[in-house]
Symmetry: C2
Subunit: 481 residues, 2 copies
């Protein structure tokens, strides 16, 4: 359905303009989506009228890295480093498909209500029900109407392989699924679910070098080439992963990924905390994208990613929430705010600091670039697809009136998303998600969970002493677990 937003504020080179924005359908387009057909003062009305007065229109942002089903563990894992946090996470009972569906719904809702119109779900698979897991998440995303990039989280090495050996000759049990079976699974996921024209995109997304063989990365790169899929992975989230890569490959993890031909303009890499200048140069040369997950990096003590260096080197940067077990929210505006101001402490040269307008560009166009759709999404440009968000500037959290983008990015907007459209379809209207009954969702999440405190974690007990030893932390008789 075509529509015209009237008298809405949009950012322009020098401040803001009040304009009309026409959203229409180009019948020659195979995807039947809606595009921005005109932006200007006093346009003719096309389709229905949307009142844009006292509202700010921006391109939709991308939640460029999350794990939706971690919503079931949000708030429960204590603040510990990634390697121990992962061990905690493994101890939770495997989810069922209904839970995968509900947490994907919840992730999509929180993303939409904080300015995101696309989500990258690095989706944890239920062992033995892998295709059903993907089907459940896809069902949720299609229902909500968010644009989704689903990368099944695959690995072919067990959890304990992710901690450096430190010369102790650790042995590891084999992973539950072979490399070959994993690649066959990916082939099937692509066959069944990769339908970009419906807003559902499959990505190849090996967990990361710390838990994946070279064969798995190579197989994923090959699938990516064959089907034109985006590539995703975790990269150097922690110091332990840096040590592990040096131990395993005798070179940096980035060099190894480059040697595997995994880096490319359609590769996005989550975290990227422990890269050195040479690594950064390789990301720039290969036009790879860094996904910055600042809140998760703080909560897990992973470190502060060198985002200002990435920007100076010309590396594209997008923002992600990361999974709710390590953040513990899917509020994209929060990730953008903290992911922007955090870096002011890393460089006294304030001319390098990220401005609110730059944050918006990173969150929208930076996100689109990382997904190789910068020609279609990420800016208010005539001809681009209508993934748009309109913020209510009369909201208390955005008052008094000053610079709307300054308020949005540096403040803490509460219920400020008034409208959101994905491919021209309204997914938020009058501050409410259109296609989801939020009360029913809350009730279902409530019913399928119970209040609890941290449990004893057998997997943490297994790995903690070794972790402390390789990280050169003092030994202690009683672990935190």
């Amino acid at each position: 359905m075509s529509f015209t937003i009237q008298q809405v504020l949009i950012p322009v080179e020098q401040g803001y303009d009040t304009v009309d924005v026409q959203i229409g359908h180009d019948p020659s387009e195979p995807d039947e989506g809606h595009r921005i057909t005109a932006i200007g003062a006093d346009l003719d009305v096309v389709g229905t009228i949307v009142d844009g007065r006292n509202k700010l229109l921006l391109p939709g942002f991308v939640n460029a890295h999350t794990h939706s089903s971690e919503m079931w563990q949000r708030g429960i894992i204590p603040p510990v480093p990634l390697e121990l946090w992962l061990a905690e996470l493994y101890d939770f009972i495997p989810l069922n498909e209904e839970q995968v569906y509900l947490s994907a719904l919840g992730t999509a809702v929180e993303t939409l209500l904080s300015g995101g119109t696309s989500v990258v779900d690095h989706l944890v698979l239920i062992p033995g029900k892998e295709l059903e897991t993907v089907a459940a998440a896809v069902r949720a995303y299609r229902e909500v109407g968010i644009r989704a990039f689903v990368g099944p989280l695959i690995q072919d090495e067990p959890l304990t392989s992710g901690i450096p050996d430190g010369g102790t000759a650790q042995t590891h049990k084999p992973y539950l699924r072979s490399t070959k079976a994993t690649l066959e699974l990916m082939q099937e996921v692509i066959n069944q679910f990769h339908k970009p024209e419906t807003g559902i995109n499959v990505m190849v997304a090996p967990t990361g070098l710390q838990l994946c063989s070279d064969h798995l990365f190579e197989g994923c790169a090959e699938l990516s080439d064959r089907y034109g899929l985006c590539r995703h992975a975790h990269l150097l989230e922690t110091k332990a992963q840096k040590l592990l890569a040096e131990e395993t490959y005798g070179c940096s993890a980035v060099q190894h990924l480059k040697d595997l031909d995994y880096l490319s303009p359609r590769t996005s890499l989550a975290h990227c905390v422990w890269l050195d200048d040479t690594d950064i140069q390789m990301l720039a040369e290969t036009q790879s994208t860094v996904v910055h997950n600042p809140l998760s990096n703080l909560r897990l003590g992973s470190g502060i990613a060198p985002i200002l260096k990435y920007r100076q080197a010309g590396v594209n940067v997008a923002f992600g929430c990361d999974g709710s077990a390590s953040n513990d929210s899917q509020d994209l505006l929060e990730a953008i705010k903290i992911g922007s101001i955090l870096h002011n402490t890393t460089d006294f040269e304030y001319q390098h600091w990220i401005t609110p307008r730059e944050s918006v560009e990173m969150a929208a166009l930076g996100g689109a670039k990382g997904l190789n759709v910068q020609d279609q999404l990420g800016s208010l440009t005539v001809g681009k697809q209508a993934d748009l968000v309109m913020y209510d500037l009369t909201n208390l959290s955005l008052l008094p009136r000053t610079d709307p983008i300054g308020l949005l990015i540096l403040g803490r907007p509460v219920n400020a998303v008034s409208y959101a459209w994905v491919n021209g379809k309204a997914v938020v209207e009058n501050n409410s998600v259109v296609n989801v009954d939020l009360n029913a969702l809350r009730q279902a999440l409530f019913n399928q969970s119970q209040w609890s405190i941290k449990r004893q974690s057998p997997t943490v007990a297994e790995v903690e002493a070794h972790y402390r030893s390789v990280m050169q932390l003092p030994a202690f008789t009683q672990g935190y677990s």
Copy 2:
């Protein structure tokens, strides 16, 4: 009015208990306030019943440092260091009393809706209308019903004195008000407004060493002793302030404050980013409180305060939002979350990291200690005053159910404050502020402001070259302003 909260979740040593909480009035108390009279299972009903089912009850938090009238500049100042940010701030037209009233109202509302029941307002005074400024803020706080600690922001040296000289023999214009006149003003503020029994407390609050003479600090300490007032000041927020103190006193700023006898168990010091181990020891010995303003410290690039070191040294730490021109929100839960997880990047020993329960204790009891009211406030203890907040655990942002305090502190609660009481009086009921018409407040804030972008700042133009020179940043012909 007495009341009984039934079947509410409270944290106990091992997890959570579901209890009733009685709030009653002790007629022997001169302040006519209400106290917690009993906590336990199945208590007799006293007064009205409040349904606590599926809710979490915590002591009210303290927003331990803010400047309410900066709400008028939120979102507008670009990310620049404090010294240039202050220059920007000085260029804004002085406020009128109505604006002071409205921004105090807004600050109180945002604080209440994010778990705070007390606010420390380091209040910027309108030149020539100082008493009227205090009166306007006090009127707002009494109306809302929040407990307020108002410290008029006083100084006796001009803005340019706050930047190190760097051997350049800068000259400064005298400040608009003498030291003597400033202390007389404080005496009058105390006479007129210090009424703890009504929830309004006056503090002495010289801006900080960088803009105040020794005489002003000594005069404030003397007033504090005479009237039993809390003491407040900014301390070592930036590297420039550290350089300035060494230049001016030949010792650290903390040593100088100690020599002035300003440090004490009722002294709270905002920021404390640039202290060394010896300084930290002095804070511990004097039992002074650090107010951690993490978001402002990030936005202004001031640095990461060594909070884990403070805690290890036994220094009390509280949380503040700081003014909305440097944050740009008064969401206390956001400050608590970031102020807790930020420090995980500063110490690989995760046993030192702040747990969500410790965050709650810092925000509540830590805040109360900094205001010398730890015997009256800051914990769910029979006999303490009823400054309480009840969170709705069926809120989407706090679901699915896991550890309620983990969800509250590590998540991003949205509209989660269901009830708040100050001194036993309901100030939030059913997620709405009781005593303020929010629509009218929004309308007033809207009407008295206009959308704008950053202006050329004449004061920044005056100080920027000198600032860059003393901070050893490369000279450039065109400043950011």
